[in-house]
């Protein structure tokens, strides 16, 4: 039975000209991790709030473990949530914050104490139980918020961009922690972020959202390898959008050409020789080979990243490609601005876009 099911959710806020969420449906199984991914204003937070019961949808249904919870308030849905601002109660200690859900549900003091100790232990915060939120670091506050959400043994854990405010290193630590905790407890998790790396590392399923709609839905690896629309490709860091001509279409692969550069591409149903097809090229699966001047493409910009460098390369037609090429380890980029190169496009670089 699906753990979370959204059926055709619609929501338009009073006075808004466009819908915040329109016709959103999705479903995940018990214990799976689903991320709503998208830029700000794409409807991901509204979808999350509707799932939690903090916002009422205009139409559509929310089912948790097969039960229609649409008319129920958040407490009745038995949801654990980590808010974007964390929303820790400032006048309560870490332990009191964590205990809050149990206290409100009338769990007696002895059991409360035991379960708080276990929850704090789970997030490695046992020594700081008596500290107040303002006495805790950003990461420690996150842990309190997670423990507070988990202690009520929720059917679903919901997190609204919890790590957005953390610096990079701490964010990575917390991402690993969340990964460990959710896998350890096998808890169904709904997560919202605008960070595609974070989404890839944490999720089983990703729903990429844009303008209130689910633009693409799939396994994390599928979203990464086969973005279906220009928006998703762009959001997953694939910038090179081209119209290619099909010059070969076999059962085990296709061959495409753009501006006189031909390359192999994965097989795709419905390709016919002579047709044009919209593709996005993954920058780190294009290699650069030196080429005699006057033949091939010209490098017009180089940015050194350490492991790799990213190049902006102009094809003879004037069209530019962004290419990420691995460095040799000399501490320098392999090519300089102005040099002539020949891009070698791997089949795995090609993403077919629908329209």
């Amino acid at each position: 039975m699906a753990s979370i099911q959204l059926h055709n959710i619609n929501k338009r806020f009073n006075g808004a000209s466009t819908a915040a969420v329109s016709s959103v449906s999705m479903s995940i199984e018990r214990g799976e991790f689903l991320t709503l991914l998208g830029p700000s204003g794409c409807g991901k937070s509204t979808t999350l709030r509707i799932t939690a019961g903090l916002t009422k949808p205009d139409s559509g249904r929310v089912l948790l473990d097969g039960r229609d919870v649409t008319p129920l308030n958040p407490a009745e849905r038995r949801i654990g949530m980590v808010f974007q601002s964390l929303a820790l109660f400032p006048h309560m200690s870490a332990a009191e914050n964590v205990a809050f859900g149990l206290k409100m549900r009338g769990v007696d003091a002895a059991e409360r104490k035991q379960r708080v100790a276990r929850a704090l232990d789970l997030v490695h915060l046992s020594q700081l139980a008596d500290r107040y939120p303002r006495q805790l670091s950003g990461g420690q506050q996150q842990r309190v918020a997670i423990a507070r959400a988990l202690i009520i043994e929720p059917s679903v854990l919901i997190l609204d961009e919890p790590f957005a405010a953390l610096d990079r290193k701490l964010r990575e630590t917390m991402q690993k922690e969340l990964h460990r905790i959710t896998r350890e407890l096998k808890i169904t998790t709904l997560f919202v972020t605008h960070d595609q790396e974070e989404a890839l590392m944490l999720s089983d399923w990703i729903a990429v959202m844009n303008e209130g709609r689910v633009e693409q839905w799939g396994r994390a690896g599928e979203i990464f390898e086969q973005p279906k629309t220009r928006f998703v490709a762009d959001f997953m860091g694939v910038p090179n959008f081209l119209t290619a001509r099909v010059i070969g279409a076999e059962a085990d692969g296709a061959r495409l050409t753009v501006d006189g550069i031909s390359f192999d591409a994965p097989a795709a149903g419905g390709l016919a020789v002579g047709e044009t097809v919209e593709v996005a090229l993954r920058p780190d699966r294009i290699e650069l080979d030196p080429a005699p001047s006057g033949d091939g493409a010209t490098i017009i910009d180089v940015i050194y990243h350490g492991l790799a460098s990213s190049y902006t390369v102009a094809l003879p037609s004037g069209r530019t490609l962004t290419i990420r090429d691995t460095n040799s380890g000399s501490g320098l980029s392999r090519f300089k601005s102005g040099e002539t190169v020949m891009p070698r496009i791997h089949a795995k670089a090609v993403c077919y876009l629908s329209a």
Partner: protein
């Protein structure tokens, strides 16, 4: 260096401003420590004789008692009312909300004298209340805006997710109010109460119209005292009031930070 020059000008102006504000207070405190029967500055000797005289003066002590209980009672009335009004203004979605807010804050803008006359006319016309009741009502009215203002400032700063979180984790609306909302804005409410208390204690213009012979507040007692005698017992009393107010203000600043409470 142009920046330095303008900095010097600003510093000088600020310094002069403070001198202008504080000089009279310094004069009052300084003269209170003399022993002359008439205020002289600087005092020629040091003595606490006028402090003793001030504390022994029955009209002062009676006035102090009246002022203290009126300030306390008016604060007890205005604080819950003001806090409730702030909730209504902040949370309510009804037509005329802004008008209501302006009306509730109006006593801040209307001079005490005008409020005093208005209340006197109204009380007389309706023939209600004794002097203590009239004073209490008038003072509660005048300090109400402070309670509203500080509570409102706290409510605006309150993260709405706090109350959402409380509800989500199983708190009823009442539990949310008691366990989460009120503790989070308690500082603002308390500060409003302290301001209200000080203001009521200090109030003279309004009280002038509401007192009778048996019920005189301390500021009025001082005014009538200096009408026919100008001995330094008044400066001694004033010095004590300045000190008390200063201590209260320091307390507020230490506990909560003045600027935050005023919503600045």
């Amino acid at each position: 260096m142009k920046a330095d020059a303008s900095e010097i000008v600003v510093k000088t102006i600020v310094l002069l401003l403070y001198a202008f504000l504080l000089a009279p207070l310094v004069m009052v405190v300084a003269t209170s420590f003399g022993s002359d029967a008439v205020e002289s500055f600087p005092p020629r000797d040091f003595s606490l004789i006028w402090y003793a005289k001030a504390l022994a003066e029955p009209s002062f002590m009676q006035g102090l008692k009246t002022s203290l209980w009126i300030a306390a009672a008016a604060t007890l009335i205005a604080t819950p009312l003001g806090a409730a009004a702030a909730f209504g203004i902040h949370r309510g979605r009804f037509p005329g909300r802004n008008v209501l807010q302006a009306l509730l804050l109006a006593p801040l803008l209307v001079p005490g004298l005008v409020t005093g006359i208005a209340l006197l006319v109204a009380f007389t016309a309706l023939d209600v209340g004794t002097a203590p009741e009239r004073l209490l009502f008038g003072h509660a009215l005048v300090i109400l805006p402070y309670s509203i203002r500080t509570t409102l400032a706290s409510l605006v700063r309150l993260d709405p997710a706090l109350e959402e979180a409380a509800g989500l984790f199983g708190a009823s609306r009442l539990q949310t109010l008691v366990y989460v909302t009120l503790p989070s804005i308690a500082q603002g409410i308390f500060a409003g109460a302290l301001f209200g208390f000080i203001l009521s204690f200090d109030e003279a213009a309004l009280s002038l119209f509401l007192i009778d012979v048996d019920t005189v507040t301390l500021p009025i007692a001082i005014m009538s005292h200096i009408e026919y005698s100008i001995d330094p017992s008044v400066t001694a009393l004033s010095s004590m009031m300045i000190m008390a107010t200063l201590l209260l203000m320091i307390l507020i600043e230490r506990l909560f930070g003045l600027r935050r409470l005023l919503g600045a």
